[in-house]
Amino acid sequence: MPQLTAAINLKIIMPELMLLVAAFIILLAAPLTRKRIISPALSLIAVMVSLYFVIVSWNQQETGYFDMVVCDNFCLFCKLIFLLTCGTAVLVSRDYLARRGIDRPEYYALMLISTAGMMVMVSSSNLMVIFLGLEIMSMPLYVLAGFMRSNLKSIESSAKYFFMGAFASAFLLYGIALVYGGTGTTDLRQIFMSSGIALQKSQLYLMIGAAMILIGFAFKIASFPFHMWVPDVYEGAPTPVTAFFSIAPKAAGVAALLRIFMIGFGTVHAEFAPLFWILAFLTMTVGNLLALMQDNVKRMLAYSSIAHAGYLLIAVTAGIDEAISGALFYLLAYGFFNMGAFAILIIIENKSGGSNHIDTFKGLASRHPWLSVFLALFMFSLAGFPPTAGFFGKFYLFSAAIKAGLVWLVVLAVMNSLISVFYYLRPIKAAFFDHPDEDEDIRKPVVGPMVAVALFITISGTLLLGIFPGYILKLATSSVFMIL
């Protein structure tokens, strides 16, 4: 018994626990009060408290639950990204939901549970716990995608996401089973040890298992050729949920992929490198080329998120320490500017009554100059212009890839950025260069206080990470050297 109590290490799961507690309080308290503000407020408080626990456990390096859960800087950095995304998503949600009459407490509870799932997913080096986290993350997301119950597109989005997610989980689970068959364990460190001395037959199981796991995660991070579900799901889901989708699960997927392939399958990484190379190239190219053809800004951002997944796969291909910290830095930066872009999209959508066609941006500069400047900032950051976070993120990621000798992949990646410049400039062009249509109503878009805070966070993040990246870079670098 004393052994068991020692194994239970509540301290290291405090961030997850806080979110879950808040989620249940929201669900319980909601029927007791009519004040709608209570749920987002509670969620924000939970995010803050959770953030506090993340910060105090920095550099702690602990494990618990019989080594099933670890607490290293790598997972803490990822948790930082999830909390940032979750917090800003909550901030931009309220106005949007209230306008559509779906401002329900469950929404916030689901978002918190999903975030807790991601945290579990990145803070374990056991395949079973990673799978558990993945499911805790995914289930609430299926519901969130269909949160606009009366909207057919939203229901379609939810159904598609659910089926695709179920497929992905099946692949993943089967892969885990094969790996277990080959090595006799689901613990990544033990897999690594046993794979070095494994027999040829079990080596084969390991390879097939790893490939299956890769497919499962490729679905989750929307990598080519498992990206087909993305545009429909992203378009149908409520926009704040889309914003959340496009960042947090992707970050969780990439982080888990990095941990699994760097630690567990470290010995077979070299064999997988060409596959990652091709996946990275095709993912970014397909994402960018399809984004080029979209007139709907939400769809465009959906496809662009596929392209960004491609850039992140470069880090997985490179597989060196700098690439891991590059991916972490990029994910944080991406969290800031992609969320910012979605925040502006939400403001415009609220004003235009649900349309997110590029024409709704026309003449925005003359009506709301500051908002257009922010739009430009986020678009330039997405496209990777200095001095924004997007530029430094790409720069650091690409430099890691070049260090790993992937010069041609980087050349292809920068050519891809060039394609992306073209479509990222389109909303800017609409906002600044075009004049509003005659019959367009000339009301100013309303920026509510909560959205304003979200904008403030994302703008300062985008600029800070672009101009003074040093501190975050240090954090990202120190996240790598001590992966447990």
């Binding site: 001095p387 070049i402 040093g470």
Partner: protein, 523 residues
Amino acid sequence: MDSWILSIVAFLPLLGAFFILLLPNDHHVSIKHSAWFFSILTFVASLCLLFRFDTVATGMQFVANIPWVSELGISYHVGIDGISLLLVLLTTFLTSIAILSTFSAVEHSHKGFYASLLLLETGMLGVFVTLDLFMFYVFWEVMLIPMYFLIGVWGGQRRVYAAIKFVLFTMVGSLLMLVALLVLYFEYHTIFGEYTFDLLKITGMPLTREMQMWLFAAFGLAFIIKVPMWPFHTWLPDAHVEAPTAGSVILAGVLLKMGAYGFLRFCLPIFPVATFEFMPLISVLAVIGIIYGALVAMVQKDIKSLVAFSSVSHMGFIMLGMMTLNLQGMEGSIIQMINHGISTGALFILVGMIYERRHTRLISEYGGLAGRVPVYSTFFMIVLLSSIGVPGTNGFIGEFTILLGAWSYNKVYAILAASGVIFAACYMLWMYQRVFYGKITNKANEKLTDLTLREKVVLVPLVIMIFWIGFYPKPFFELMEPSVKTIITQVEKGRGMYEANKEARAVQSALDEEAANGNGDDQ
């Protein structure tokens, strides 16, 4: 103190831009005046640089070096030599002139316009003063954003197309440059075990011939597009014609020089062997550009696109001069950068002035203006002659020195390039004749008013510069000479390796031939 002046010069316009953004939207006058005030202040600050500059010393002056992202060896490292000093002065001078010239031309969103111009100035100054490759890239790219807005928001009919074309063309080159820059960065680490983007350290590092060729190509493409050299010039006419006057002035006056400056500061000193290898190719492109630009300029119907194509021709001279790799050619090339900035800038301003009055730039709409607007015509004539390169004006000094250099490098190129001067005389004077001489054929031109006081104030400094360089260019040459000599020494280091390689290849091919002949004999 000295090390701070440079940063003050570079970031004063940025401060100005922020200040303007804080002003109320409808205070047009205060927006204009504060923009002008900040640009003049920057110009004065840059004059301080000139007075404190040591003309004898080689190497960088006013150096400041502060770590920025120390983990990656990125630092805030600035400093100037004679060449960058001249270009800094050109930038601050032309920006203040351009801002003053545009007071009556901007019709809407004043705030954004002047803020963009000042941001652009910081971007350009940053490119000229930085000694850190990372920072160089940042400024190089940053500058695209205000220019994109200047063309896109305040431009002419096809502004949207021109703006996106400008950005995409520039980015094709610069993104490959980014890759090359990173390769260089890791190569330096492999050799010296240190991560750094410091230009002074990277210059002169040992690189194999193949490596130099690749990296030169990647850097060179970015610069060639920016210059622009034929056949990468197609963005230029669109951007120049569609940009508002101030934008065209800056674009032609300063932005194009950044390409040439890039060659001087990065390609030549870092990749000397590759410079020798690429020298013939770039010279040929330059000569083609000189003639092609002139011929296309001749058939333009629009005065502004005529001036734009004349830029292609003039930039060809600058590149030819640089590629001679001798003292005259390179000095001529640099002085011609200044000249082209002044003359073409002035031409765009003059075209803008008449456009404000008549809202057309078609040559056929005009005729006989000389009698109606004599002061304007006189200014136009002076600037035009300087653009052609008539003795006594700045253009003559530049082109003559370049041709001198080119003559000792390759006589055929010199002769072909000289024909460009003759073509320039043709298209410029023919245009002048059609616009200013004869009788007034178009009724609309009868009511034209001559230059206002503000417009004269804009043009007089430019004309003074034209004659100053035309009659007494010595101080300018003195300023750049030590720096040019330094660059030539750095490039000459590559000659040995280049010749050895050439010989080796010649020997190899001779051996191959012999072997082939030998085989033939046996049979």
